[in-house]
């Protein structure tokens, strides 16, 4: 890994030498990254042979958890390498495609496209807002990074939707499945984002692809939960009515449950997107590129300007994406029309054709 993409390199250069490993929180990580991702616990407390004293009961480590984990993980890594590669492959492929599209496309085209999508999804106000926001991004010199972050978020959210909606449907259909999945989601949501990074780095290494994987894990819970909730909230008399007219399971799902749960599912997608964005930023610590890395590097070098640009970029992206997906969750009724194709640029086009 090059110094260029390692945000901590400078930080440890500045502070590292003088201080002990214990007082430098980054020391361990930095050395780990530089040598081998597998020796994370090298800085763990050395086990010394001293007499046990009640005054200092924890001087000795009772349970050598670190070495257990170390052996466990290295065993998993060596024995399940094909599995981890298999997981990485589709993420890698999608990410590469999305990323190169965003980065290669002419900025003005991207801006125009965003404007049109925002117009379609929400209205003219958001369209103007998005265009202004994106131009600002470019103007302050964060275009490249914004597109990288956007590609990471879009890829993560795509995977979250593809994995999350079917899982949510499974949960809604079977109480047993719900019972099994719910605690897993609880763990995924309550574990601080920071903690995710450790196991992911151990299992998948560092870089953009592990960054997307960590983001998927962190952000997938809301879309699963809200898909489940949305389907379960479909009024029972409608389910009964559909049954009374002879709906089979598939028809029930696609003609009744999913359409009625759609606003709730979209609220889940919105939450997932927001969580995804925040995770992509945090994941810069495992050397994921984009706006997060800008902030991190800015902080590391005490370069307030750089950090601020990154920060502003993140805020602008967050607001645009949030507003766009929030309007997806709204009932069409609230927006005064029944069908999405009756408004926005497409509505205009269709009206024009008539």
């Amino acid at each position: 890994m090059s110094t260029e993409s390692n945000p901590w390199a400078t930080a440890s250069d500045d502070t590292g030498a003088a201080e002990s490993t214990a007082s430098n929180p980054w020391g361990g990580a930095a050395s780990t990254q530089n040598s081998d991702a597998m020796s994370m616990s090298a800085s763990g407390t050395p086990v010394e042979q001293t007499d046990f004293s009640l005054l200092h009961p924890f001087q000795d480590v009772w349970i050598p958890l670190d070495s257990w984990i170390e052996t466990g993980v290295s065993w998993v890594v060596t024995n399940f390498r094909p599995f981890f590669t298999a997981v990485k492959a589709p993420v890698d492929a999608t990410l590469t495609a999305v990323d190169s599209t965003f980065n290669a496309a002419p900025p003005l085209l991207v801006i125009a496209l965003f404007g049109l999508i925002a117009w379609q999804l929400s209205g003219r106000r958001l369209a103007i807002g998005s265009v202004v926001g994106l131009i600002t991004l470019g103007a302050i010199g964060a275009w490249q990074e914004s597109m990288t972050t956007l590609a990471l978020v879009v890829t993560s959210v795509l995977f979250c939707i593809v994995l999350g909606i079917p899982t949510g449907i499974a949960m809604a259909r079977s109480d047993r499945a719900a019972k099994v999945i719910r605690p897993i989601l609880d763990i995924m949501q309550t574990t601080p984002a920071f903690v995710y990074l450790v196991p992911i780095v151990m299992l998948f290494g560092i870089g953009n692809v592990p960054g997307v994987i960590v983001t998927i894990i962190f952000a997938v819970a809301p879309v699963i939960r809200l898909t489940n909730l949305g389907i379960r909230q479909v009024p029972s008399d409608l389910i009964e009515a559909a049954n009374s007219f002879g709906a089979d399971k598939k028809q029930m799902l696609f003609k009744v449950q999913l359409p009625l749960a759609m606003p709730t599912i979209m609220a889940g997608v919105n939450q997932t997107l927001m969580l995804g964005l925040s995770m992509v930023v945090i994941a810069s610590m495992i050397s994921v590129g984009g706006l997060g890395l800008m902030v991190l590097r800015g902080i590391g070098r005490l370069d307030i300007g750089l950090a601020t640009i990154g920060g502003i970029g993140i805020v602008i992206l967050a607001v645009i994406l949030d507003r766009m997906t929030q309007s997806l969750g709204q009932d069409a009724r609230q927006r005064g029309t029944r069908h999405w194709y009756e408004t926005g640029p497409i509505g205009l086009l269709l009206a024009f054709k008539k």
Binding site: D237, E240, A241, S244, F245, G246, D248, K255, R333, R338
Partner: protein
């Protein structure tokens, strides 16, 4: 008469251990005790019914007596615990899922108290929903749906959404949705209970008309005596999950099987509480006498169209003139006489402030609902037998 739908010794127990509850029922232990001891609810207990083709069969009973459960057992929306449900002699409790779906798609449709229209579909798609599930192509199903909507007078609202319609209109859509499949059997669980009385009468008339046109078998759940007597060819009365009596409205009225049944019709002395004005209903068909013409033929047509035997004639200032019947109208048309000669002399209006105690015998002996007029001879409404009974019944249950 052909039996269309037959129920034999049907039981439904809600809960985890239906077998236990069944055994206790066999021993003659009652519903409440079983619930106390085992936590199992007896929904329907040993129901046996034979419903004829082309009849309107009303199931009545107090809240919790198992009416909804019974009607859902008929199309297996609720799985029976024990017993048989035969449609055209075919036991549907034994069929597999696929066959059950086919039966629901083609033979038996349901109308719900809560309407249960799909909020994300417009009226046309809602109406075509059953056919959509059967895999009928868009054009054909929309055409059939439009027909069904026309039958209930809602063609012009095909592109509206359910939340843009009034309750009465929504239930018409519910009815049209059930009719689109052209089912033999129509199940209606308190289909009109959520509607106001005027609309309700209108819907009842509509149901009777639609039913007679196609000789459909209708199983109609109601807790409203007026409704049951008005539309029911036969009535079944349920109590605590059991069917306690089945018969024509007259049978039940004259020979109630037990006190529970009697209590539906029981009256107390309310002579001084209500007067005729309080219970007169305006929902009857009035014919307005115009100055320009006699309007005999239009009057007759109106009566026939609404399937009424009697019409109440008023003038433009709402003054009551008299009662005509389809027969008297036909007579005067034949003899080229005037409207005033069609009026039936036997039926005299009662004054609005007459107490109920004094009108019971008048209403009971009148061939039709008795008109009520105020002191200026203005038409107030009519009191039918069912209306009167309902009032007495309500009074009794207060």
């Amino acid at each position: 008469m052909v039996t269309k739908l037959e129920v034999k010794n049907l039981y439904k127990i809600f809960g985890e251990h239906p077998k236990k509850a069944l055994k206790m029922l066999d021993k003659g232990i009652n519903k409440d005790e079983i619930f106390k001891k085992t936590g199992q609810t007896v929904g329907v207990k040993n129901a046996s019914l034979a419903i004829n083709e082309g009849e309107i069969f009303v199931v009545m009973g107090l809240s919790g007596s198992g009416k909804s459960t019974l009607v859902r057992l008929l199309n297996r929306l609720i799985e029976p615990t024990q017993g048989q449900v035969l449609i055209d002699g075919h036991d549907i409790t034994k069929v597999d899922d696929k066959e059950l779906r086919d039966i629901r798609r083609s033979k038996i449709s349901m109308v719900f108290q809560s309407f249960a229209l799909m909020p994300h579909m417009n009226v046309l798609d809602n109406t075509a929903f059953g056919l959509e599930l059967s895999g009928v192509n868009v054009q054909e199903r929309h055409e059939k749906a439009r027909n069904a909507l026309a039958q209930v007078g809602l063609e012009s609202h095909a592109n509206s959404y359910p939340d843009e319609l009034s309750g009465g209109m929504q239930q018409r859509v519910g009815l049209a949705r059930a009719l689109t499949n052209n089912p033999d059997i129509l199940l209606m669980d308190e289909a009109f209970s959520a509607l106001d009385p005027l609309i309700r009468t209108e819907m009842q008339d509509e149901l009777v008309r639609l039913q007679s046109e196609h000789q459909r078998t209708v199983v109609f759940i109601s807790h409203d005596l007026d409704e049951a007597m008005r539309i029911g060819d036969r009535i079944a009365i349920m109590q605590g999950g059991e069917v306690v009596q089945v018969g024509t409205p007259d049978d039940i009225l004259h020979n109630p099987a037990n006190d529970y049944v009697r209590s539906f019709f029981k009256g107390v002395d309310v002579s001084n509480v209500f007067c005729a004005r309080d219970i007169a209903s305006r929902s009857s068909l009035t014919l307005i006498k115009k100055d320009s013409s006699e309007g005999l033929i239009t009057g007759l047509k109106l009566l026939n169209e609404n399937e009424r035997d009697y019409g109440y004639v008023i003038d433009k200032s709402q003054r009551f003139l008299g009662v005509v019947s389809t027969i008297s109208l036909q007579d005067v048309i034949k003899n080229k006489q005037t409207l005033s000669e069609a009026i039936i002399d036997d039926i005299q209006p009662i004054a609005a402030d007459t107490s109920i105690g004094d009108i019971i015998s008048i209403v009971a002996h009148s061939p039709c609902a008795v008109p009520v007029v105020d002191d200026q001879q203005k038409y107030v409404g009519v009191i039918s037998k069912a209306r009167l009974l309902e009032t007495l019944d309500k009074e009794a249950s207060v």
